[in-house]
Amino acid sequence: MDTADLVPPSVLSIAEAPFPEDVAAVDGPVTVLLSIVVANDGTVRDPEVLGGPEAFRAGAVEAIQASRFEPASLNGEPVEVRIRFQYVFQPPAPLQEARVDGRLEGLVTDVDGSPIPGARIQLRSSVQTGEGEAQFVGDDGRFVFDALPSGDYRVSIAAADYVAQEQLESVTIGEVTEVCYRLDAADLGASEGDETIFTAVGVIDAPPREVTRRTIRREELTQIPGTRGDALRAIEVLPGVGRPPFGGGEIIIRGSAPTDSEIFLEGIPLPLLYHFGGLTSVYNSRLLEQIEFIPGNFSARYGRRIGGIVEVEPRDPRSDGLHGVIEFSLIDASVLAEFPIGENASLALGFRRSFIDLIFENFLPDDIGVTQAPVYYDWQSILSYRPTSRDRLRFQLYGASDAFALFFDDADTSDPASSGDLGLSTRFTTLQASWNRQIDEDAELDVEAAFGPQTVDFGFGSDQNFDLLVNQFYLRTELRDRLSPRYQLTYGVDLSLAPFRINFEGPPLQQTEGAGQLAPVASADIVSTEFSAVATRPGLYIENEIRPTADLQLIAGLRFDYDDRTGDYAIDPRLVANWQATDIVRIKSGLGLFSQPPEFAESAPDVGNPNLDMIHSVHASLGVGLRLTEQLELTVDGFYKYLWDRVVSTEQGIEPFFINDGVGRIYGAEISGQLHASPELPLFAYVSYTISRSERRDRNQDAFRLFDFDQTHILALSGVYELPRDWSVGLTMRFVSGNPTTPVVGGIFDAQNNVYTPVNGRVNSVRSQNFHRLDLRVEKKWRIRNGQMALFVDVQNVYNRMNEEGLAFNFDYSQSQTLAGLPVIPSLGIRGEI
């Protein structure tokens, strides 16, 4: 028989047997070895006990007969096979004692879930035994490292005839981190004698330093429907995340302006998140470990922003041989390769290019010519190196390029200045280096440095040009020192040094939020400025993490920021309290100040106000987290934010053009549920609902008005169900209240320039239509000898809802019509992995 054609059975569901009550306490799991027949319908019959304690045998036999398998198949046809199966009884969990140390425990199995006795686990960190310690797992495949200080640990797993692995794990005082490592066999040929073991595995996340921190797990990142496998777009389903306007490429977090939030890649701000305003993100999702979304009350390590934070964590390249992924879709294609270099280093290289330029011209009206069709690229390289057991070095070189150029043959009917060449290009390249050192048992040092140019070139016609060049240098150093089991001190410095050059020509700069319909460029007096400067923004922070009891965590932080462009500084105290009230219930609360410098252009001479001050905000939040089961979590969070010293335009753009007179208030509540997949229910799902109100006031004498992206209701449901035979199907549904808009009540003829200027009504006094959309993703995988293939269809806007994205006006503003968003867009893709 050609065993390559035989696919062994796999577990669909395992019935749980009760742990015998009359059995004395045991140290660990108890295994009963069975021989069973898995019928071709997946049922189990003819169980025979081959070994194991007598008291457990009957329960194991009863449970296995109620279990279900995906039957074995031969040449694609289901066949009946007899296999050996280890049924594992987990001892009842002892009453949890308050732990003042951390524990890492887990299981090592092969790809089919069978334990690998004798596998060697090495914990390469400075714990109790100094240079690290190693264990050989027992017959049940389990291992435990106890009494570990908090920190990141490098876990190496090796076993004869299996491909070694190395993983990074986080251990936290008072928590148990459970892991499961599945090793690929060096010889992948299947055999009838393979053993199968089942056990539930969960990962207990490290406790957050923020009140609300939502983590999307690595295995779920790339499966959210409607994102075309783009992990960073998965943020859109999280509570508190607003719907950005089409083409905006922005993230709206808890009613904050997009510029108030920041995306960090391993502690360093990412210059650009999405290609072409939201089409796809600039970083290959398959190089990400996880994404953390912190909508407010974030740690003092983050500064210069008053909205929310997204922290993107890349992973180390795989060190267990050559791996590669090639993916083609109708939008773009990408390639990723990763491999070890010597014993202590590994490298990943990724590249992506879009295909939009091949079809773009077909969608354009006749009077628009294409000089350069839209095209985007991005690239990533990660080199991870571990010179000693205490040090990890990681070097990254990544970047992105977006560019297009069009020619508008006819003048815009409402703005004659909007004709001729239109071009936009954004590019950045970043070289980033990070060094993590475990100084001793209780202290750890992180150093991150990044440098790279960022450019934005925009031009339209003869009157509108904007060129920006920033050579951004960024440095972050952080030291974490556990001074006692109940007290940890974290302190650090982050420095942003940005020599920049701005070349601007166009209508006077103005606040666009709350501005309503802007006047045509043809009616404006064109202004220009060209200047260079260095923006120096040092920040210092300190955080005290105190655990008065095992259940209570208090984090008191203080941050200092200085902005030399405005000469202003900020001192922001922040406090977070987390209380693990019961095993299930966690109460969390936070209060803090946050500050942000004005945008470069707002404080530029000639077109802005160099005397602006920083913008400030206070965040207050209170939440409850319920971990109902290992798979199901529910959270409820309430928040309030008040903003002051917001930068707003002066009335009608009179000098000094921008002032700090704006204020804002935002309040709301978020409810979310997460269901993680388990063998019993192979479904992961997110449900989130946000109700909020975001208001602004631009001048003292004005009343509060709605913010441009005030979205009262945001409901998102997303789920992916793993079907047998490696099929999966997922849906994402979103409902969002329509954005506030400012009505245009008419137009005034500008006799000098032969155009009409709009007359705006009350700012944001009406709303556009509600937004709703359904996205679908179906994926089928095939396992091949050295990897797998996948074919997927990702359909955005399944029922072709014409969502309102704005209004278009005729030349004199007497008529308007709705601009609809994207229609149904199916995206077919294929992916190959080795």
Partner: protein
Amino acid sequence: MKIVALLLLFSVSACEDNFDPPSLLARSRILGLAFSVEGDPDRTDPLRGETVDLRVLWAFPNEPLPLSFQGIACVALQTGFGVPTCDPDFGVIAELEANAPAGDMPVLTLRVPDDFPEGRELLLFGGTCAGGPVDTLLLPADGSFDTSALDVCERPEDTGELLQTTLPIPIDIADANRSPSLLVDMTLAGQPLATGNLQTGDACSERKDLPLLRVGGPRVALVVSASPESLEPLTPEGDVNPENEVLQVGLMITSGEANANFLLIEADDLIEDTTIRPAREAERSPGSDGSIERIILSVRDGRGGLVVQDVAYCLLEAEP
């Protein structure tokens, strides 16, 4: 960046608007204001103490209508954007009102005060109505327009427009703009266009002096050319950085569509890639005698000059 997002939106969704072509003269439309200093008619910028005449120019699809204007003049607040506003430190300089019978243009006469602040511009803001009087409620005496009302005309059946313009008030006559006569010529399908008192819809099949287009026919080239004098640099001769004249050309037609309603003539002295699409059957039925269709051309220069040309061609029935 909003404009880029909108452009992408239009592009990706292949979305073209359903508005009437901006070039279509389907109702009475304002063309602009023409300035002329009394006693020095070529000059468009008055000095302090001088009087300037302002003519309100309209285009009508058919018979001309009586016109009215009501507005104010004031010192313009130096703003960056938004609806132009009077500087409250100076108040209203003059209230202006003029009416004209059908076929004539309202002419406003404004004397610039002797103490007009140096370096500031004059703002003219008002409402003009075709067919009847301007609503007197539009213009409170303090010059604060209620732009949210925007009911310019007293009678709802009339067509009204709000308009505004600013006018520099130079101190030295050498700094004042002068607009030479703007000489612009047009050909349609290689033929010159007829001028004169031609009424839209009049029979024309026997007129051999008009270009002939047919309903549903192909697009034909409209060539607009300007005289070299019209394109003389704005800056004095010998200036090291001469600022070239750019003529703004606005196009309106009584049926069909011009592929642009706004054109620029710059260093080249003509525009030759503009086309006219004759009306389709659903848009116009000229009858067996054909129908006069008009093209209204308004030309502005950078010195305050404005001329209007009203020309015609003959639209014939579709080919059988």
